[in-house]
């Protein structure tokens, strides 16, 4: 699991949840606030996650239209490492124990970063 998260470059739980949300919904026409309200995060956390995912090339987002954008998951080739990593993580996260394991890893990763002076989750 750590390897797959590392392949995708995901280090925060918010990034994973936002990525999974966009992946599940295909194409979303929404603002950060709307996604935040659905996922239970602050708008700032979701905004930060979206920026990060876009920078990593995992999510494509359109121009801003009155506060909303089109968000689409950028799928890689089926046998490309990022796609394989995502597929594996999705399988793990489908079950409750897997979800809890993911949370544990990401929280540890975030804590480790914080100790090194990394990003704070809002």
């Amino acid at each position: 699991m750590v390897k797959h998260l590392s392949t995708l470059g995901i280090t925060h739980l918010a990034e994973w949840d936002v990525l999974a949300f966009i992946y599940r919904h295909g194409t979303s026409l929404a603002g950060a606030e709307r996604i935040a309200s659905l996922l239970g995060y602050s708008k700032a956390s979701v905004g930060s996650a979206l920026d990060s995912l876009a920078a990593k090339g995992l999510v494509q987002r359109s121009r801003n239209s009155r506060g909303v954008r089109l968000y689409q998951f950028i799928g890689a080739a089926p046998d490309a490492p990022p796609q394989l990593a995502l597929d594996e993580l999705m399988k793990v996260a489908e079950e409750r124990p897997g979800r809890l394991l993911l949370i544990k890893h990401l929280k540890q990763a975030a804590a480790g970063k914080n100790q090194r002076g990394g990003l704070h989750l809002a």
Binding site: Y23, R24, H25, G26, T27, S28, L29, A30, G31, R34, S62, R63, S65, R66, G67, V68, R69, L70
Partner: protein, 517 residues
């Protein structure tokens, strides 16, 4: 209306109800309670538009995830994923507030996406979720907000019409005041309103579809049966009560044809049956109604080149074929040659609209000329609704007559000895052209079979009751004066059809014998 002016839904049976389709650019509202199939109908509208009519489309959802929509569609055999990959379909997850804002803005992302894929259709699932907030704080100051739901919806309808998108929107019905008010507005503003219902009847789930209104066109009104089938999707079956929309006048034939190739029976009926005539064969169980039906069909095929169809609710085809074979009636050969077809359907949970559609489909596909419906009384039991039973019968008779088909209905009369009424549960004697009674008569100590033609419209039929046997080759009428050993012939009795036939005196018998020569 020309074909170009209509948008075909592509949903099985629905375009027929709509007499070809829906006027282009009509806003279509599909309403119904939870579980009635609104999302499925909307999705199939978009799917069929793409695969059958090359009209790309969009699906807008507020609560369902695209992933689940794709998953559920796959169970019906629809590959939405592939269509998205090919840029013919776009599924968008958003909120009602964003939709309202986007649809009204000509340069919006939503409309931009629609233009990119060349979308001609759009399905919006759950328009009832639109809810104009009374508190306008936080809304974009430059946007005009509607004060009421109706005004909000009207703006969306206007926008969709401006973009020339044929829009199908779904709205959940319910008992809450909010739902009733929003539904009323949606129903008024939409050009076409389709109502989906789901009810439980005698433990069975029944789905129906009704076109409530459709501006600019005629349609078949009333509740039609709706089915959802794994691997194919939705199907609408026109209700049997809906009158046929035929452009031809009722045809009439003067051609007389042999019933079963037995001269005696043809003489009884006045020279044979007319093409397009309807005959009711009435009798208690075991008198040979099915045998007669089998002979009717074989006669039609072998002597007259008329394909036949046997519809049965009582007997499985294998049993029908076996029983025929024991009488030397090789029905199997005609079935294998595709000259005679058998439609068997269990009376359990019979969907009459679907059943009628299956009969019509077979008749049209194989150009059936003779139809035997074996077991009319089973329909009565299966349907449990006398009105529906009667409607089915009328619809089938009307359809068969329009095609000049000869139709035979077997009805099991419960009266064992003697018949006082033709069909106790449903008087149809005035509807059918011919009535043949098969009954049992007790003479001395044995039961003998009796055939009587009590009605033959347009024919000078005989009123004699004739004895018949069932043996090799099926039903055979005995000569009128032939006596079965030990017992006296029919001609020695009066009141044969009553429950108490009376033997004539010797003098009277001699007199009658003289009359018959």
């Amino acid at each position: 209306m020309s074909e170009d002016a209509l948008v075909r839904t592509g949903i099985s049976g629905l375009d027929g109800i709509l007499l070809g389709g829906i006027p282009r650019n009509n806003v279509i509202l599909v309403q119904g309670e939870t579980g009635t199939g609104k999302t499925l109908l909307g999705t199939e509208f978009i799917y069929r538009g793409i695969v059958e009519f090359d009209e790309p489309g969009m699906i807008v959802v507020f609560e369902t995830s695209a992933h689940k929509l794709v998953r559920d569609a796959a169970a019906l055999g629809w590959d939405l994923e592939e269509l998205q990959t090919r840029k013919q379909l776009q599924i968008i997850f958003t909120s009602p507030e964003v939709l309202e804002q986007e649809v009204r803005s000509p340069d919006s992302l939503l409309l931009e996406t629609a233009a990119e894929i060349g979308a001609q259709r759009i399905f919006i699932d759950g328009i009832g979720l639109l809810n104009p907030s009374p508190n306008q704080a936080g809304l974009p100051p430059h946007a005009a907000r509607s004060a009421t739901y109706r005004e909000l919806l009207q703006q969306i309808v206007e926008a969709l019409s401006r973009e020339k998108l044929t829009a199908l929107i779904s709205h959940e019905t319910g008992n809450s005041i909010d739902r009733l008010l929003t539904l009323e507005s949606a129903g008024f503003l939409a050009d076409t309103v389709i109502n989906l219902s789901r009810r439980t009847r005698r433990g069975r789930v029944q789905r129906t579809l009704e076109v409530v209104k459709s501006r600019g066109q005629d349609f078949d009104a009333g509740e039609h049966t709706l089915t959802i089938t794994s691997g194919s999707g939705l199907a609408v079956y026109r209700r049997v009560q809906a009158p046929l929309r035929l452009n031809i006048e009722q045809p009439t034939s003067t051609a007389r044809r042999s019933v079963i190739g037995v001269n005696a029976l043809d003489d009884l009926i006045g020279g044979g049956i007319f093409d397009g005539s309807t005959t009711m064969v009435v009798g208690v169980s075991g008198v040979g109604k099915t045998v007669l039906g089998t002979q009717l069909l074989r006669e039609g095929v072998m002597r007259q080149g008329q394909p036949g169809l046997l519809v049965s609710l009582d007997e499985h085809p294998a049993q029908i074929l076996r029983n025929s074979a024991t009488l030397g009636l090789n029905l199997q050969a005609q079935v294998e040659a595709g000259e005679i077809h058998i439609l068997f359907e269990s009376p359990q949970e019979l969907e009459i609209d679907v059943h009628f559609a299956d009969i019509v489909r077979l008749i049209e596909k194989y150009d059936i000329r003779r139809l035997v419906v074996d077991g009319m009384s089973s329909y009565s039991t299966a349907l449990g609704d006398l009105g529906l039973y009667r409607d089915f019968f009328h619809a089938l008779v009307a359809f068969c007559k329009s095609r000049l088909m000869s139709t035979f209905f077997n009805y099991e009369n419960p009266e064992f000895l003697g018949i006082s009424t033709f069909m106790p549960d449903f008087p149809v004697s005035s509807i059918v052209d011919n009535i043949i009674l098969l009954s049992l008569v007790e003479l001395n100590s044995s039961l003998r079979r009796c055939i009587t033609v009590v009605k033959a419209r347009g024919s000078a039929h005989q009123f004699d009751s004739r004895e018949y046997t069932i043996g090799e080759g099926g039903i055979q009428l005995l000569p009128i004066s032939e006596a079965v050993p030990v017992n006296l012939p029919f001609s020695q009795y009066s009141s044969v059809l009553s429950r108490a036939p009376t033997r004539f005196s010797a003098a009277a018998a001699r007199s009658i014998g003289g009359m018959h020569g």
